[in-house]
């Protein structure tokens, strides 16, 4: 499932870039992220807790920056997480693009998400809606944080 989210940040691009590339800090913008720590080589480990009604998921996984180009203001991330209780996994790729527009920065996130295994049986359309919400919250939170600092 593919999503595109944009947010406008009241801060210059360089500042937003620094903010976004601070992965542990940026990850805290994802609702439900418990801990994120660097595991070396541009990789991070973390946990994401998601609850849909009575179904509680704890997704353990890795996040890696697979490409970054500060000049162009683009970066790609790949996240893979697994819930071993329910049986299922989430894979996501995110392409970030930052564009400066008169002192503000437009943040655009194109993401492609797959929800696999039992997890996916909960209902792909609902999951899609949840994921959409999650990414929107993430983008908005990033924008808020970067504007604030």
């Amino acid at each position: 499932m593919k999503f595109t989210h944009t947010a406008t940040v009241a801060a210059p691009r360089a500042k937003v870039w620094a903010q976004v590339m601070d992965v542990p800090a940026a990850a805290r913008c994802v609702p439900g992220v418990a801990s994120v720590r660097a595991s070396g080589n541009g990789k991070y480990q973390g946990t994401l807790a998601v609850q849909v009604g009575p179904v509680r998921l704890v997704l353990d996984g890795d996040l890696a920056i697979t490409a970054r180009d500060e000049t162009a203001g683009t970066a790609s991330l790949r996240a893979e997480a697994k819930d071993s209780r329910v049986g299922g996994a989430i894979h996501a790729t995110m392409n970030l693009a930052l564009a400066e527009k008169g002192g503000e920065t437009e943040l655009r996130i194109d993401s492609d998400l797959a929800v696999m295994g039992r997890l996916g049986e909960f209902g792909q359309p609902v999951i899609k809606r949840k994921a959409d919400q999650l990414m929107r919250d993430f983008a908005e939170c990033l924008a808020r944080q970067a504007s604030a600092r």
């Binding site: 209780r85 049986g87 696999m116 295994g117 996916g120």
Partner: protein, 741 residues
């Protein structure tokens, strides 16, 4: 069952007279089914039995980099863990064995299996499955049949030439991503097009659907010395024995396949999957192992009906008479061709793109394509629901364009014995004119077409469609034993609900002139009865029924030779055999009336008339059941059924979201039987199991157009599709609706 001999009596009927053929039948296994005594594969348990779970690919296409099963193996209660390394290069399949028992290098669809676990309980096995760590390298997935045929497409089966193909040489294919390819030509197509008054081209699409049987697939496998025992939901046990022998390298004599009652099949249960991996697990664990497929997995990872794109072009004269026809059918075969049993590796009736009509010249091209989607296999009248939807929509569109009444159009073109049909051969079957004449009267066609409807009420429309299905072919044999005045028929047929045992009982009793109660039918596993081709291809009545009749006749002849009556002839045994190779076909036709809610597009079939040429009736209740059930099956595919896929994943893998009709959705159905034209089956019987479902979709589409003037080009004919056409700006609609040359 363990220890027990292979025979299970399936008849327990009180004495009834043998003057049976006209009387409604009493289902011999009915009592067991309604009391719950009937045993299905998932009911069978053995002491010490282990439960199985599989690890399946979450990717549509990926390379397996590494598999780590140590955590799974370490879990208490886990008795065996196997991966593709243990099973390679074993592959399974009905005709072409292209589906790995477990994948070892690449996975080709979401649900493709990479490991299997046997454990003390299903919960432990599942838990262990979650602990298997598989590292994949994702590869570009080929998700549609057009992309798969492109020059850049990754070749999904680079080793195809090494795959086992049963029975001769595999037909050649012009592109490596094709499972099958076939062309047919007859007559002077070019001349037909040159002489045409008009030429029409239309393209239709049909989605993947599931067979929607109630009983889950299940298998129980154990080793007894060298002998591998298999309890299965497969409806063709002898064929499964052959497939397992070939793919596992075990002599057929060392495999016993036992299929009991089957809780619905609709074509899907000819392909077995779990049985193969279970054989390895049984060996690895030394224990009986059982698996029962979860329905969500069944919908994601077994063998669905092929999605297809059907492009038809037909040349007609000014009266609408067909002069020539060309067609191209592209079936999305999914990741494996293993589910298809026929030699062409196409869905059975892939080439019949204008069935039931006189077609003096035709050029037909059909192919089945490898993609990274759910594999496709057989489903009730394989190939027909796709082709009948296209053909019968197409004919209607041509009629409308020429200003000819759709039924008149069909009357002008329908095949009569001796006419050249779409196969290029003289038609040998139902007189189509008779079917349509019956339809015209039974459905009160003239009145139905002139009934006005009131303002504000739903729009009313009527639609017709016809269909054709062959009478089943093949060979079968069974044993008939006489002992103390009673006869026992021993068969290998695993009844999937069609009523086979009742049929055999009635045939034998009728032929011998004895009461039904003196005829017992027993089913045996593959070690206890002669070879049987299994249920499928509309075969049971004409072929296996023929064998039952032959057995009864042979017994009668023996009795005559001995000059004895049945009651005092002592013990006798004969083997009945049948070989039904004639190319007979039956025809059926529908007239439906629909109501369309013009604001929502919601469509209800309000009434249906079905005329079917069935030959002699042996099981009147079951025959009706097959026709009515076929109609409901077709209605589901017409109005609602569709496996929705996103990136190779089924997004509606449950009956909460994959809807099939319930009885509340079924309109009054008037069934008119044509019985006067005997078929090749016992006493003149034909086949009905796949006779009624394929044409329903087109009949609905045609009725919808009649009601509201819009055409739906794909199945299912959902409210939203109709609504979208109805609300589309007129200019745009004109263009889409006149897809003619």
């Amino acid at each position: 069952m363990p220890g027990a001999p292979g025979f299970r009596p399936v008849t327990n009927v009180a004495d009834r007279t043998a003057s049976v053929l006209g009387d409604p039948e009493y289902r011999v296994e009915g009592r067991d089914k309604v009391t719950g005594a009937a045993r299905y594969a998932a009911d069978v348990a053995m002491p010490g039995m282990l439960h199985v779970a599989f690890v399946a690919s979450p990717y549509a296409h990926a390379r397996i980099v590494a598999i780590d099963v140590s955590d799974a193996r370490a879990l208490p209660g886990v008795r065996a863990v196997i991966t593709g390394e243990d099973t390679k290069p074993a592959r399974l399949g009905r005709r072409l064995q292209d589906w790995p028992v477990l994948c070892w290098d690449r996975v080709l669809f979401i649900g493709d299996r990479v490991a299997a676990i046997a454990a003390d309980s299903a919960a432990i096995a599942e838990d262990a499955a979650r602990r298997v760590r598989v590292e994949y390298e994702e590869l570009p997935a080929v998700l549609d049949a057009d992309a798969a045929r492109g020059p850049q497409a990754p070749v999904l089966h680079p080793d195809a030439s090494s795959y086992r193909y049963f029975g001769g040489d595999r037909p050649s294919i012009p592109h490596p991503n094709l499972q099958a390819y076939a062309v047919h030509r007859h007559g002077d197509v070019d001349a037909g097009f040159r002489a045409a008054h008009r030429v029409y081209s239309h393209t239709f699409t049909v989605p993947r659907t599931h067979q929607a049987y109630i009983e889950p697939r299940a298998a129980l496998v154990w080793l007894d010395g060298e002998v591998l025992h298999v309890v299965t939901t497969n409806k063709a046990p002898f064929a499964l024995r052959q497939q397992m022998a070939a793919s596992l390298g075990i002599a057929e004599a060392n495999i016993v396949v036992d299929a009991g009652h089957i809780g619905g099949d609709f074509g899907g249960k000819g392909l077995s999957l779990d049985e193969f991996a279970l054989a390895y697990l049984a060996r690895a664990s030394g224990r009986p192992v059982r698996s029962v497929t979860r329905y969500a997995d069944d919908m994601q990872a077994t063998n669905t009906r092929h999605a297809a794109t059907i492009a038809l072009t037909t040349a007609v004269d000014a009266d609408g008479r067909i002069l020539a026809h060309t067609s191209r059918v592209v079936f999305d075969g999914g990741a494996y061709a293993a589910g298809k049993p026929v030699a062409t590796l196409l869905p059975g009736d892939a080439m019949l793109t204008l069935a039931g009509y006189r077609v003096p010249a035709a050029s037909v091209e059909a192919m089945s394509v490898y993609t990274n989607q759910v594999p496709a296999g057989h489903s009730r009248a394989p190939g027909q629901p796709q082709n009948a939807f296209a053909a019968e929509s197409h004919i209607d569109l041509v009629a409308r364009s020429l200003g000819i009444d759709p039924l008149v159009m069909r009357e002008r073109n329908v095949v009569r014995p001796g006419d050249i049909d779409i196969t290029g051969a003289p038609w040998h079957g139902t007189d189509g004119a008779e079917v349509l004449a019956r339809l015209r009267t039974a459905a009160h066609y003239a009145e139905a077409r002139t009934t006005p409807h009131s303002l504000g009420a739903p729009a009313i429309g009527s639609g017709v469609a016809l269909g054709v299905r062959h009478v089943g072919r093949g060979r079968a044999s069974m044993v008939l034993r006489l002992s103390r005045g009673r006869v026992e028929l021993r068969t290998g047929v695993a009844d999937q609900g069609g009523g086979a045992y009742t049929l055999f009982q009635r045939i034998v009793a009728t032929e011998l002139g004895i009461p039904l109660g003196r005829v017992t039918v027993t089913r045996g596993a593959t070690d206890a009865v002669p070879n049987d081709p299994g249920v499928g291809g509309s075969r049971v009545t004409p072929v296996q029924g023929g064998a039952a009749l032959d057995a009864a006749r042979k017994l009668r002849v023996r009795l005559a030779e001995l000059g004895r009556a049945l009651a005092d002839a002592g013990d006798l045994e004969v083997i009945g055999e049948a070989s039904q190779e004639t190319h007979d076909a039956s025809m059926y036709a529908y007239a439906l009336r629909v109501l369309v809610d013009v604001e929502t597009g919601s469509t209800k079939v309000e009434h249906a008339t079905l005329v079917a040429d069935v030959g002699t009736v042996i099981n009147p209740v079951a025959l009706r059941g097959q026709l009515e059930g076929g109609f409901v099956f077709g209605l589901g595919q017409a109005l609602m059924e569709e496996l929705r896929l996103e990136d190779g994943r089924v997004t509606n893998p449950s009956f909460a979201d994959y809807k099939i009709p319930t009885i509340a959705d079924v309109p009054p159905l008037q069934v008119e039987l044509i019985t006067g034209d005997p078929g090749p089956g016992p006493f003149g019987a034909k086949s009905v199991g796949e006779l009624a479902n394929p044409a329903v979709g087109a009949a609905v589409a045609n009725a919808v157009q009649d009601a509201v003037g819009v055409r739906v080009w794909s199945l299912p004919i959902t409210a939203e599709k109709i609504w979208a056409e109805l609300t589309r700006p007129d200019e745009v609609r004109e263009v889409a609706g006149s897809a003619e040359d």
